[in-house]
């Protein structure tokens, strides 16, 4: 049988990976399998499914054929071995950590994080006996010094929220691997179109799929993708016999699928944070246009950042696409197509808090809301919203200042965005 060997490109995978047209109907679009459960072939097969001796559908809290298309597609785009979708990005983080960690374990995390992640890592994890050491991610020595014998993972965001720092993924991967621990990267702001952390040595990549992957701002979702390359053979939670599965050893039995199988069959099963099939369908619609949207997002973001950086009412702009940005060199290495479309700036004012309020209330095209990565342009004042649960010290560690405005640049007409920002700045 003559076989054509072909490595397909990103855009082809974006449209086709994970979905073979339905054999019965030939439906070209991905069908929505809005079902909770699946009729078993017979009692033997049912038993084998529950023992994980068969791959198959059991219950939508564990897997679903529509969700599987989303999972395989994002895994393909990230060059990962597989994916597990979750009900949200926060659930993707929680699932990952609950699969890897036990009480008494520690993680070392970048402090340049989404505020919700900092809260989860600090307070919720503390209740579970897990300690997070936050470090300024921009110096590798900070990471090295924070690692202890209890450290089980390093964690950071490809493009840090909200200050837009770029994670030195390759350096951190080397550091993590020298300690036999995985590097976990949240790549929500980059998407696999702008950066593929697994290609740089990261072991697990997470997304809030709610953002650019969907793009439409209609559905909350998260996803975990594993490279399949990390050696979990000495990693207790993945390698040791699991009493919940007749002493199954996930890493020995499933090898490069071990972590993901455990995340799905134990953690998601037990926490219940499964993605709904309808939301998976919505995410798939988004993924199909990811590259064309991202090209437009970064083009507009660069134009807006340049415009603001020369505006008399603007104090500073933190976008790694600007040549004078401290992360510009890292951005050119890791995100050569553009360092995302979410960044911050500050208005020049004696009263930064009031100026920020007047600015936001004066905008016509930018939507004031708590999200990023919509096709529409968005704006928020982090100190009073996304990061308001943090203390002043935590705010500062996360790089948030009182007058800081966060923009998520959409795909509108570029000139309309510049006009809107300019007229609102005149009100400050």
């Amino acid at each position: 049988m003559a076989e054509q060997k072909r490595k397909f490109g990103f855009e082809t995978k974006m449209l086709h990976a994970g979905h073979i047209p339905d054999p019965v109907t030939g439906a070209r679009a991905v069908p929505i399998y809005q079902t909770t459960s699946y009729v078993f072939e017979d009692t033997d097969k049912a038993a084998q499914l529950f023992e994980l001796k068969q791959y198959g559908n059991i219950y939508t809290r564990i897997n679903n054929p529509t969700t599987a298309v989303f999972e395989e597609r994002i895994a393909s785009l990230e060059n990962g071995t597989g994916g597990v979708a979750t009900a949200s990005g926060m659930a993707a983080q929680f699932t990952t950590m609950m699969t890897l960690l036990e009480p008494g374990d520690e993680i070392v995390s970048s402090s340049h994080l989404y505020g919700g992640t900092m809260t989860q890592f600090t307070h919720t994890f503390k209740k579970l006996g897990i300690k997070t050491h936050f470090v300024d991610p921009t110096n590798i020595d900070n990471w090295a010094q924070a690692i202890t014998p209890k450290t089980k993972a390093l964690y950071g965001e490809t493009i840090g929220n909200p200050r837009g720092s770029i994670l030195d993924i390759a350096a951190l991967a080397d550091l993590a691997h020298s300690h036999d621990i995985p590097l976990i990267v949240d790549s929500t702001f980059a998407t696999p179109y702008l950066c593929r952390p697994l290609d740089w040595g990261a072991d697990i990549v997470l997304h809030s799929a709610t953002k650019f992957l969907g793009g439409h701002g209609s559905s909350i979702a998260g996803v975990i993708v594993d490279s399949g390359k990390f050696d979990f053979s000495k990693f207790k939670t993945i390698a040791d016999p699991d009493p919940a599965y007749h002493d199954l050893r996930f890493y020995e039995t499933f090898g490069h699928y071990g972590f993901l199988m455990k995340a799905r069959a134990v953690t998601v099963r037990d926490t219940g944070a499964a993605l709904s099939p309808f939301n998976a369908f919505m995410l798939i619609q988004g993924l199909e246009t990811l590259s064309v949207r991202m090209e437009r997002h970064v083009k507009n973001a660069q134009a807006v950042a340049e415009f603001l950086s020369s505006h008399p009412k603007v104090d500073w702009v933190a976008y790694a696409g600007l040549p004078d940005n401290p992360y510009h060199a890292l951005a050119q290495k890791y995100t050569p197509k553009g360092p995302g479309a979410v960044f911050t700036f500050s208005i020049k004012s004696e009263n930064a808090r009031l100026a920020g309020k007047n600015f936001i209330e004066g905008l016509h095209v930018f939507s004031h809301l708590a999200n990023v990565g919509d096709v529409r342009s968005l704006v928020i004042h982090p100190a009073s919203t996304t990061h308001q649960q943090l203390s002043d010290a935590e705010l500062e560690a996360g790089g948030v200042t009182a007058g800081m405005i966060r923009l998520s640049i959409g795909i509108e007409t570029t000139e309309d965005l510049l006009w809107d920002l300019d007229q609102a700045l005149q009100l400050t």
Binding site: M1, A2, E3, Q4, K5, R6, K7, F8, T12, K13, H16, A17, G18, I20, P21, D22, P23, G26, D44, K45, Q48, L52, K53, Q54, Y55, G56, N57, N63, P65, T67, A68, E71, E72, A75, S76, N79, G80, T81, G82, G83, V84, A85, G228, P241, Y245, H246, D247, L248, R249, E252, T253, G255, H256, Y257, L260, M261, R264
Partner: protein, 179 residues
Amino acid sequence: MGSGSSLAVDVSMNTVLTEEERAKFQDSGVIRKVLSTSKTIAIVGLSPKSERPSYFVGTYLKSEGYRIIPVNPMATEILGEKCYPDLLSIPEPVDMVDVFRKPEDCIEVAKQAIQIGAKTLWLQLRVVNIEAGELATAAGLNVVMDRCVKIEHGRYSGSLHWVGMNTEIISARRGQRYF
């Protein structure tokens, strides 16, 4: 199971083989032909313990309709099938020899596989012995190496996809089993 239509696919992940070795020992067309034409599979190193990887694979293959023959000198019966101490003791024809043994044991297994007239030698994930592979190839056997027969069956029958794994298959043709 038909022979299926051709696929333009390059399954390149999760292997320690070089590109050249993959071309020899992981050809997608060969794997699908083997899955489609094999009926009797001798599993060398099949464990009687239900939590072991080989037991998972044996359970799966039996459930998918293959006749499995356990080969393990330490057991008499596994998965309801009579167990043999080595390949030479099996009193019936064997299509495929599936190997869960240390790489260094594979030369002897390959020699026995050739001797009993098996059509395929399949070395499981990370069971890598190029010399054993070359030996069996020279004797006219199909050889697959550093791949799991359960994973490959799941890849080309569609079920691996259901657990969110990256099958690396891209096709706009109407769905089917690819073997």
